[in-house]
Assembly symmetry: C2
Homo-oligomer: 441 residues x 2
C-alpha cells in the first residue's frame, strides 16, 4: 500500500510502546471498551456538535502499516521484532458505536465507544481524538454561527487560516454544522460539496482599472457572478459594477469596514440603480456575535473564515479516550477507572439516551454498567437511543461515509437543535442546554 495512504503512524509513540509491552505479557489480547467523551464544553457553550465520525471510518480503511512504516518502527527500535510481525497483519476487527454525526453532545456524553482487544483499540486512540477534537470544534462553532445568521446561508472561506489538510476537514465539519458551501476545492471534490468563489482584491489590482477587472470577470463567469466592490471606493465600484453587468448583476461582496452600515448603503444604491435582485455578501472576520449583529442589515449571505476554522475561541474540544472496562486475568470483564485528581472517570461501559417532554429534550441519560446489565436495561418510552453502530466485527457501515452521510448529519443537526430548549441557541454564556444524568447500574 502506498505510503501516503496509510494513517497508522498518525499517532503518538506510546500507543505502539504500550502495544509492544502488552503483546509481550499477553494483556494485548484482553477484551476492552474505550470511550471518547469530554469533561466540559468550552466556557459558556450550551452544546457541542459531533463531527468527524465519517472521517474516522475513512481513516480506519487506511489504518495499515506500509513497508516504510514498519521499517521506521524497526529502525528506531520503537517496538520489538515480534510486534513488527504482528503489525504487518494488523486490521481492526472490533466494534465502534456512538453518537451520530450532527448530534448534540454535552459533558460526559459517551460520544464514541470502541470495543475490541487492547491491542487494536489502543492503536486508534490518537487518530480518533485528532479527528473528533478538531472536526467537532469546527462544527460546534459553525452551528452557533448558522443560528446567528438565521435563514441566510453561511459559506466556509477559512481554509487559509488553518493547516491545509485541516482546511478540508473544516469544510466538511462546517457543512455538518449547518453551513451551505465552501471555498475549498479539495473538500468540494472529496465530499461532493457545493463550492463557491469568484475573485479577490488582487484581481482588481491586476487590471489597469476596476472597470477592466469587472468586465474580465463578467466575460469569464457571466453576469450572475459576485463582484468584490471594496478595493478602492465602494460607491464608485457599485456604480461601475452595474454599468458593466447591468441590473442582472448576480451579487456584490464587501470585505472591510462597518459591514452593516455599508450593506445598507449598498442595498439602497443597488435598488436606486434598478439592481433589485443583486445580492450582497459580506465577509470580514465574522463570528457568531458579528452575525447576530448583522441580522437587521440587508445582507443575503455570509462568508466566514478565521473564526470558523479556529472554533471561534475553542479551537479544539477537550475530548479524551478512556479505558472503561476490560477483561481481567480470569477472562471476566471488569469496569475500570483512574482516580487522578480532577480526572477521575465513571467506570464501566455506557449507553446514552435523551429524554423528551412535549417534544422538547429535557435530559441526557448516561447509563454505566456491565454488558449484561446494559443489554437488560429498559429505557423509558420518551427516551431516544443516541447510539448508532459504525463498525461491527471490523466491518464498516459505509452509509456513514461520504457525501450522503454529511448531508444526513447536516439535517440531523438542525433537527436535534430544534428539539433542544431554546436556551441552546443563546450566545450568552451559560450552562449546557440540558443536564446530563449518569446512572451506574
Amino acid at each position: 500500500m502506498a505510503d501516503e495512504q496509510t494513517t497508522a503512524l498518525m499517532t503518538d509513540m506510546y500507543e505502539y510502546t504500550m502495544l509492544d509491552a502488552a503483546l509481550r505479557d499477553g494483556t494485548a489480547q484482553r477484551r476492552c471498551v474505550f470511550e471518547v467523551f469530554t469533561r466540559h464544553l468550552p466556557e459558556g457553550r450550551r452544546y457541542g456538535v459531533v463531527a468527524g465520525t465519517g472521517r474516522i471510518l475513512d481513516a480506519l480503511e487506511r489504518f495499515h502499516l506500509s513497508d516504510s512504516d514498519l521499517a521506521f518502527l524497526a529502525d528506531r527500535s520503537i517496538v520489538s521484532r515480534e510486534t513488527i510481525d504482528w503489525l504487518e497483519h494488523f486490521q481492526f476487527s472490533g466494534r465502534i458505536s456512538g453518537y451520530r454525526e450532527g448530534e448534540m453532545f454535552f459533558p460526559n456524553s459517551p460520544i464514541l465507544q470502541v470495543e475490541g482487544t487492547f491491542a487494536e483499540c489502543v492503536l486508534l486512540e490518537t487518530l480518533l481524538l485528532s479527528v473528533l477534537n478538531y472536526d467537532s470544534a469546527v462544527a460546534s462553532a459553525a452551528s452557533r454561527m448558522v443560528t446567528s445568521a438565521k435563514d441566510r446561508p453561511c459559506m466556509d472561506m477559512g481554509g487559509r487560516r488553518t493547516n491545509e489538510s485541516a482546511a478540508v476537514a473544516a469544510s466538511r465539519a462546517a457543512i455538518v454544522g449547518g453551513f451551505q458551501g465552501t471555498a475549498n476545492l479539495l473538500a468540494a471534490k472529496m465530499y461532493d460539496l457545493p463550492a463557491i468563489g469568484t475573485a479577490a482584491h488582487c484581481f482588481t489590482l491586476l487590471h489597469d482599472s476596476e472597470r477592466d477587472a469587472f468586465q474580465a470577470q463578467i466575460d469569464a463567469l457571466g453576469k450572475n457572478t459576485t463582484l468584490l466592490v471594496d478595493t478602492y471606493n465602494i460607491e464608485e465600484a457599485v456604480k461601475t459594477a452595474v454599468e458593466v453587468a447591468g441590473t442582472e448583476l448576480g451579487g456584490v461582496r464587501i470585505d472591510s469596514g462597518d459591514l452593516a452600515a455599508l450593506a445598507q448603503r449598498v442595498r439602497n444604491q443597488l435598488d436606486a440603480l434598478g439592481a433589485r435582485n443583486t445580492t450582497i455578501t459580506v465577509t470580514n472576520d465574522l463570528d457568531e456575535y458579528a452575525l447576530a449583529s448583522l441580522q437587521s442589515a440587508p445582507v443575503d449571505s455570509y462568508g466566514v473564515g478565521t473564526m470558523l476554522v479556529t472554533g471561534s475561541g475553542a479551537p479544539t474540544c477537550a475530548m479524551v479516550y478512556k479505558l472503561e472496562e476490560r477483561e481481567n486475568r480470569d477472562g471476566v470483564m471488569q469496569p475500570v477507572a483512574k482516580k487522578s485528581k480532577d480526572k477521575a472517570t465513571v467506570p464501566g461501559r455506557k449507553l446514552a439516551y435523551r429524554s423528551y417532554e412535549y417534544q422538547l429534550a429535557d435530559c441526557e441519560h448516561v447509563i454505566a454498567g456491565s454488558e449484561e446489565q446494559l443489554n437488560a436495561f429498559q429505557p423509558q418510552d420518551n427516551w431516544k437511543d443516541l447510539f448508532v453502530t459504525y463498525v461491527g466485527h471490523g466491518q464498516i457501515d459505509h452509509s456513514y461515509q461520504g457525501h450522503d452521510a454529511i448531508m444526513n448529519a447536516h439535517r440531523h443537526r438542525a433537527e436535534a437543535l430544534r428539539e433542544l430548549p431554546i436556551a441552546a441557541q443563546s450566545l450568552m454564556k451559560g450552562d449546557p442546554a440540558i443536564p446530563t444524568e449518569t446512572t451506574v447500574l
Copy 2:
C-alpha cells in the same frame, strides 16, 4: 501522478476562477509580486516565529493537477476548457524569497515574496497562507514556552488535540520553535525527529495491578523507561515503581493535580528511596504561564499538548497574501495597493533588514520600491538582510527542506531571540520587541 500526492486543489475556488478570467483577457501573463505579511501580532505578543516555509517547498513539488483534479474542475465548470489545457502543463516557474524559518517576525514584516506571472502566483495563495498561518502560530507559541521552560526540554504531545495532519505540521513547527522532540510518529518518520512516549493510564488500568503494569513496561522498554504514576495514588505508585525498577528507574510522569507541589513531593520521595537520577516529567495542560510558574519546581522535562498545537490562544496568524506590484498594459511594472478601510497596504515590493546596536536588534526596516530602486538600495553596515531565496526560476533550493533545514531553523530561532531586546522574552502583554520602520523609496 497519484491523486493523494497533489496539492493543487488545497485552495480556494476563486484562485481558479481568477486564473480563468485572467487567461481569457490576457492579464494572466502579467508579471506580479505578491507578499505575505501580517498587520498585527496576536494581542500583546512581542514577536512571531516564521515556520512552514520548508513545508511550502514540499507542497510546491506536488503542486500539479492529477487527472481527477482536472476532471473535477471541468465537470463543475469551475474553469473553461482552455484553462484546463493550461493547467495540465502547469508548473511554477517564478521566484520565492523571504524570511528564514526560525526567524522572528513583526507586524508588516514581508515574510514571503512570490514573483512570477499572475497565473502562477495566484494559484499558490491559499496553500501558502494555510501552511504559514498554522505553522507559525505553533512555532510562535512554542518559542514562548521554551523560554518559560528555561533549560528544561519541552516535548510535543499535542497531536490528539488538532487535526491529524495538522498534528504532523505542529510537531515540525514545535521543533522550529525550540522544542526537543515529539510524540507524533508520522512527524518523526517524515522529518527524522526525536520521538518520545512510553505509556498512558489505560496501560495501568489494563493490568490487574499497577505493579503488573509497571513490570510489563519495564520488561518491554527497560528500566530507563518513564512510568506514569498518577493513575491511582502517586505516593504508592512511586514506591511500587522503585520496587519494580530499582533505583535505575529512568523517570516518572505526573499528569494531574498541582504539578509543582506534586513534583516536589515526588522528588523528595525518589531521593529518599535512593532514586536520585530518576527524572520527573509533568504533562497536564501546560502553557507558557504554567511553565513559568514551574521554574522552581524539581521538574526535568515537560510534555505540552493542547496549548502548543492551538497556538496558546492564537491558533492562527493573521497573515495575508497581497499583490504589491504588477505589469501594466504597456509591460511596465507598477506598485499597486488596495484602499479598503483598515486593510490598506503599502504599495511596492519590499526588502527587509534588521539593524543592530551593540549586537542587539533595535529596528526592523522594511524598504518598499521598484525592483530598480531596491537593487540600488544600500543598507547600512549594521543591517542584516533578512531575505533568503527559496525558489529561483522555478528551481527549489532543497537546503531549506527536510530534517537539516528544521534543525537549522531550530538553532536560528534561539540565536535570533538572543539578539532581541530581553523584553521579547516577557510574558507580559506589550508592544512588539522592536519597532518596524517602513520606508517607501
